[in-house]
Amino acid sequence: MSSPPDLLASYRQVRAAHDEMLTADGRIREHWAHTGRVLNDLGLDELLDRRDTASRLLDDDGVTYNVYGQDDPSSAPAPAAAPWGLDPVPLLLTSDEWAGVELGVIQRAELFNLILTDLYGPRQLLRRGVLPDELVFSHPGFLRQCDQIRVPGSQQLFTTAVDLARDGSGRCTVLADHTQAPSGAGYALENRVVVSRVFPSLYRDSQVHRLAPFFRTLRTSLQDYAPPDTDDPRIVLLSPGPWSETAFEHAYLAAHLGYPLVEGSDLTVRDGRVWLRSLGRLERVHVILRRTDAWFCDPLELRGDSRLGVPGLVEAARLGGVSILNTLGSGLLENPGLLPYLPRLSEHLLGEQLLLPSVPTWWCGDEDGRRHVLAHLDRLVIKPIARGAGPTAVFPWELSRDGRDDLRRRIEAQPAGWVGQESLDLASAPTLTPTGLEARPTVLRAFAVARHDSYTAMPGGLTRVAGSAGTSPRISNQAGAISKDTWVLASEPEKLSGFWLAAGAPVAATDPEASMSSRAAENLFWLGRYAERAEAMARLVRTAHDRRNDFQRGANPAGTECLQVLLTALTRVSSTYPGFVGAGGADRLAGPGEELFQLVVDEKRPGTLAHAVRHLLGAVQAVRDQLSTDTWMVVGTLDREIRELRDSDPHRPMVVQHTLSRIMQSLLALSGLAGESMVRDPGWRFMDAGRRIERSLQLAALLRATITVERSTATDSLLLESVLIAAESIITYRRRYRSQAQVETLLDLLVVDADNPRSLASQLDQLAVDLRLMTSLDHGSRLSEPERLVLEASTALRLADTAVLAGPPRADGSRPDLDDFLTRILELLHRTADAIDRDRFVHLLPQQSLLAPT
């Protein structure tokens, strides 16, 4: 028996660069000793197991990062949602080390705040020549439209992030600043949640500084920015939508902070103020935590082609009716051309030496800078001063001679648009790989948020690790980087402060209706509808499969006929014509395998199971801030199963059957969550109404497609049994009516029995309750349009005499009374859905730009 390899002994620094765990002479640093020992004792196999656990936890929480095509973000409208990569081995920092970094990060935020305040105010830095005009005026992040706009308080810069690396001597250096709409804090929090669960005792023993206080500061600071005319500010998080790179984080933060997640179309400007299009009314918004790039925020004054913004938003900000954070225009500070000027600016504005050096940078708009850059093209990283089309960094040594000449010409033609930066050997940190711990380059993103007259830094941050061991200077999530939790080790147990539990008078709860956008309600409604549609489809397909297995040989005419009725019912209920009904229907009935498979897996075709699941997932994405975290466990499984099904073999129906069962399980789990874990607020009412309407529609359509025609007794007894199975009522039916199946008793159970949760009567009753409670708007005793329609349907149902409806058919076997009755119910249900859509949801017409030519 060989002893397992020693993980620490085999860990090697690969380069001369600083290593986080090892000293230059290969000894383990003191603050890594405990963690190193624990990792070593656990051994490689156990660590890999824990890594899998971490991945599963992230998967269960639905943590993703949307990856676009490398060069052109616009080329891929629907990006791939990549799972969030997390290395379970944390990055460790001592309290002392961190104290230095923290001071530097806070100082930098204060400095950037003063620069921002000046550049959108008196511009003394330019007038006095401290900064060259061109550096500011030629930067597309300088938004002249937003000049002189101020938010309350002295901190015009609300939040900032800095990417930090260690140079060879271990000193922290800033690689880049993020001031537009910094991302990553939410991912850092999620990393902490996961790693502390994967290494519970190591985490406990290590006395790690907690992240929660940072987010509490974020919350209270946001309140402080509210315009002075309110005591009870409404705060929203503005996101570009579910396709944005960091969409997960937007929803995660919104849910964590308790603010509505909104998109541009959820907001509107009038009377110089911003309003949330809420359910049936407009609700004032006081503070916008902005995650949409400024250029896209107002199609009137900023980018005219933006579909992510709110026309008039700049005007509202100008009038002080809303505070937008970070302020529109803050992206100017991301200009790397500022870096060479920071030491001087720090002296000038703060009277202090700059604590954190920036990576050595030369701005080509300055003559000496340009000369230096052009003379050292072989070893400097070249970057445009603003993000835009094209790559964010060019590595001239990777270019051909022609490529380099071309770059040189572009710099010479437009020098102010470029900087050259030294390429740092990034410090490495131990990262788990299948073969052991590997030294990989890392970058730490630290975060600061305004607090009173200064800033608070998140203790730790988001550490990112290169996707491979090489010396690639690129560490970006788009390029496959993964992340680490960052532990700042407290020297003594941390005192808890800033409790969630607050003293003082009870705070009034926010009216849930007022904090929900009409778009969120609409998505919840459709979430309910698609969930039921998927479930009904899965049941019906499964029932058809079963009959097919029973009577595949075609020896039993009744069995064959029953199968054919079920197949045509599938087409009719799901409106997937021609299917088994229209052109080519007879051929498909003779060999139904392929069409049955397509009805399950073809997500592009409306009416299929996959289509319903895909739209269900889309609706879930759009309202993820409203749903419990457990939802993700279920939704993630659903997503995987539908993909598995697509890749499965259509000629092995057993596999399809099996997967169908698992999809059913997920759908049932989802409806269980909706029933057991969601507050009955108006949002829930919309979702439930969607379910009730859809279940009723599916059932009425199924009945109409099957039992409105009488067939032979043998066929009908098989068919009625199948209908009861598909409607999930067979057990009750058998228990209650021991005799042979009859249309009349079937109608009693599936249509009029309000105690059967699968009956039309019970669905309409529940729908009526949902409609009454989905709005607190007082209509007096007047019924709304949807309520009237539902009352009409349920009255018709209650007055129906099932004996008459099921009575003796005409000579041709048809039951016109039953058909008319079901047709009427279907029509009323469709009109109810339309009325909800029309009355309750906001419908914006398409946005257009006007530009009058001279």
Binding site: D147, D271, L845, L850, T854
Partner: protein, 295 residues
């Protein structure tokens, strides 16, 4: 001269527009040689929001929002403006253009500081090597600025055909140099680009021309619509306006509305509307009439 300016813009939509948000640059600002005595804007239907402000460049911008359904939107701006501009510049005949360029860089005054913002490329005026080459011809070293300016303006006038509809608001300078035809806006952009290419601060000016000239005076090209020209910052003198479309210095037959880096900063009307309408009809009329003197 005193003018009464009426600038009317009307949109007709094929189907209902639920709301319109707009930004207007149709009110004359005060500049040396021009005072706006009175002005007002009427918008129909009645806007829910309406505010005038002064923008980054000192222009008068109007924000409005019409929040009731409509199929027609009209914006009528009326103003009374006094202008007194010589239509020439008085510079020492021998002052080289480089002197103005160099003095701008060092001038600590506020006017020069603002002017320096107009040295750089802007979204619609990108100085390509072709633009610089076109300009270089007019700026040999040591040439007096007045002469260079006059010659550049005359050259643009001669080299480019005035042809409405041949270009759009998206036409670039490179395309203009290839096509050799355009409208006042294009010529103004080109002149601005040429001036910037040699290191002079230049801005784009939008405004109007006298529509009905008194007997004996020719009607200028570009009357009846909004007009545009270029302006260059001259040390010790200030902004000097030239009109390449009519090959002349701007005189008291011109009314200035707004100045910016290019058309994009000061377009007379831009907006965002919400509608299914596929066809939007636009009618613009401008009338610049001299007022009878009441003496």
């Amino acid at each position: 001269m005193t003018y009464r300016v009426v600038h009317r813009t009307e949109y007709r939509y094929e189907s209902e527009v639920s709301s319109s948000y707009g930004e207007l640059y149709v009110l004359p600002r005060d500049v040396p040689g021009q005072v706006c005595r009175s002005s007002r804007v009427r918008i129909e239907p009645e806007p829910r929001d309406f505010r005038e402000r002064t923008d980054f460049y000192g222009n008068r911008a109007v924000y409005f929002a019409v929040l009731e359904p409509h199929t027609r939107l009209t914006v009528t701006a009326e103003s009374t403006v006094d202008v007194s501009r010589p239509g020439s510049i008085s510079l020492p005949a021998d002052q080289a253009w480089e002197a103005s360029r160099d003095r701008l860089r060092l001038d600590p005054g506020d006017d020069a500081f603002s002017a320096r913002g107009f040295l750089l490329d802007s979204p619609k005026v990108v100085v390509t090597p072709a633009v610089a080459a076109y300009a270089a011809h007019s700026f040999p070293s040591g040439r007096p600025l007045t002469e260079a300016l006059t010659e550049l303006t005359a050259r643009i006038h001669a080299d480019f055909a005035y042809k409405p509809g041949s270009t759009s608001v998206r036409t670039t300078l490179a395309e203009l140099l290839d096509g050799r035809q355009g409208v006042c806006q294009d010529f103004a952009h080109l002149e601005v680009g040429c001036l910037r290419s040699v290191g002079l601060a230049a801005r784009y000016v939008s405004g109007y021309l006298e529509t009905r000239p008194p007997p004996g005076r020719p009607r200028l090209v570009g009357a009846d619509v909004s007009h545009a020209w270029a302006s260059v910052f001259v040390a010790d003198v200030g902004w000097v306006d030239v009109d390449p479309t009519n090959d002349r210095f701007v005189s008291d037959r011109y009314v200035t509305t707004a100045c910016g880096r290019d058309y994009g900063d000061v377009s007379p009307l831009k907006g965002v509307i919400y509608t299914e309408s596929k066809k939007n009809e636009l009618h613009v009329s401008v009338d610049v009439a001299p007022l009878e003197r009441l003496d």
